[in-house]
Symmetry: C2
Subunit: 335 residues, 2 copies
């Protein structure tokens, strides 16, 4: 990781690292003054003051899904978009790679043609682009893509399609002593490429799907190299399992947007401490996308039912967010 | 984790959480004024001041092995001692458990008889005591044992057999902006039982061997439950792999005492940044134990050769440490 950051410490995603706001400043200016915002502020206020709802600082753990929760995930997870373009490059450079599972289909077909692949096949192929690379090497390739690639609809850098209200929420939580984690189905080293500069979340607080890896001694240094095959899927029930093994504490705040987050949100609540569960509902086709129960990417069905049963906060992107994306590309933004 | 801490927040191991010493106070009073101490202080001084050797705060990652590095590991890893006693209790209460691999041998034989088992068999049996339990349930059982069990030679609580010079080193590093991690072959949830109170290391900075686990929904809450089988071994080459996946940064300080730490120490050094590698050499049979190349537990052979080749700091327990253990049981120490 360090090598990459040394190359370009300040011009990565261009997102400013959040700075705690003074107490008289609205901590969530991009959130409409509705029930969702009120529930968040009430929870944080209670958590940080003596009395009912107080949470000791060391237990202030907040976990966030990434795709669809911190940045856009349509029309396809950005990591998948990257992997598909990368596989096409790799196959063009070395046709023998067509023998790797799903690589030939991905190289030859357009987006519609890819629907003949299962999600598991696409996921495996997306992980395979990292094989034989160290995290630093892989992140350099991913970063080179993130710097230049543009979202097909918004024509902006993918890293600029982060949600401004969520950047404020992350900042607000940290200013109140919460440790913020990403817990995502995305591959962990890919997310670490932009999590520090994009969200202010350091690599050790990024939990994701992992690939097999081995320790190797090269000429001048030892390295950890990605190998073939998935090590552990950080989705659905895998999320609380990863949280228990990695963090070793039950979170008190969990934020997601799809059925893949259902178990993580459930896990953040006990009879002794309800916690705060937040579901981002994508209902804004004008500014972003509108999808839930029928969507292939980011389906929100069971978790939406559970939200009403369990008194979770459902955030309407349309009604609760004054803005969706940071208003203008910031300095050094690669656009 | 939280449930356990709520039960007895201040009477756990009784180790005070270290408080940074003012700069005019000797940060390492239990270390003799020899080469090892000098190398440590020179490295930290350079790391925290502008100039050659400076390390940005976010890259100040220090990883410590646990058994034989932070506390005693003889005559048998304490977790193994716990597991053997626990298996005997379990088999006495439910004889059908004799059918689990190695359980009958462990229940019937004395320490000498256990040598008929392989290390892998003992490790698997030690992990098996956690099956069907949440981390909180397991940690409560482990803590009940740690409160009452006594070391066979020193007749002290196992948690009092931590190394006073290492508590000072951990404290010194944290006071200088280093994030301290445990990276140990020990089972992760067992270590989290005492790492916060014993070493000031929070659960999320404890990396260890993990057991398979699943997410389950119980009557009033969802839980993560340990299952049969090892998930990932955090020893030898597994240590840098776990570091890369969990921390996502290359450490700049690595401290160990056995060949199981060899690759972790190698990984902490590159041509661009040598880092600081420390090996604790157990050469003090009077105050602790003397063992290295021939020992079954904590063998130090290849790593000792590499230490002289690669200019690692070798700490002689006999010559470099003025005291080994905290001088007297502290208040609330369970003795």
């Amino acid at each position: 990781m360090s090598a990459l950051f040394l190359i370009a410490p300040s011009v990565r995603t261009g997102q400013a690292v959040p700075i705690p706001a003074p107490p008289h400043v609205d901590p969530l200016p991009s959130w409409e003054r509705g029930q969702a915002r009120q529930a968040i502020i009430a929870f944080i206020s209670a958590a940080t003051r003596p009395g009912a709802g107080f949470i000791p600082v060391e237990e202030r753990v907040a976990v966030f899904d990434n795709d669809g929760t911190l940045w856009t995930e349509q029309p396809l997870y950005f990591q998948m978009t990257f992997a598909i373009e990368r596989i096409r490059q790799m196959v063009a450079a070395d046709p023998s790679l067509r023998n790797k599972p799903a690589f030939a289909t991905i190289a030859d077909k357009d987006a519609a043609g890819l629907s003949e692949l299962t999600e598991a096949e696409i996921t495996a192929a997306a992980l395979a682009v990292q094989e034989g690379l160290t995290a630093e090497e892989y992140q350099q390739i991913a970063w080179n893509w993130l710097k230049t690639a543009r979202h097909p609809r918004f024509k902006r850098a993918f890293t600029s399609l982060v949600y401004q209200p969520q950047l404020e929420l992350l900042n607000y939580l940290r200013a109140n002593g919460f440790k913020t984690y990403i817990v995502s189905g995305g591959e962990v080293q890919f997310m670490r490429t932009f999590a520090q500069d994009g969200y202010g979340i350091p690599p050790e607080q990024v939990i994701g799907t992992t690939q097999n890896a081995t320790f190797e001694t090269r000429t001048d240094r030892s390295v950890v190299v990605a190998q073939s095959g998935m090590r552990s899927l950080d989705d659905g029930p895998g999320k609380p399992v990863h949280i228990a093994l990695h963090i070793g504490r039950r979170p008190v705040i969990a934020v997601g947007n799809s059925d893949g987050d259902l178990q993580m949100l459930q896990y953040s609540s006990t009879p002794e401490r309800k916690g705060l569960q937040i579901l981002i509902h994508h209902d804004d086709a004008v500014r972003e996308y509108a999808y839930d129960r029928q969507s292939k990417v980011g389906r929100l069905d069971k978790a939406l039912d559970e939200a009403s049963r369990s008194d979770w906060v459902v955030v309407s992107m349309k009604a609760d967010w004054r803005v969706v994306y940071p208003p203008a590309p910031v300095k050094n933004q690669p656009e």
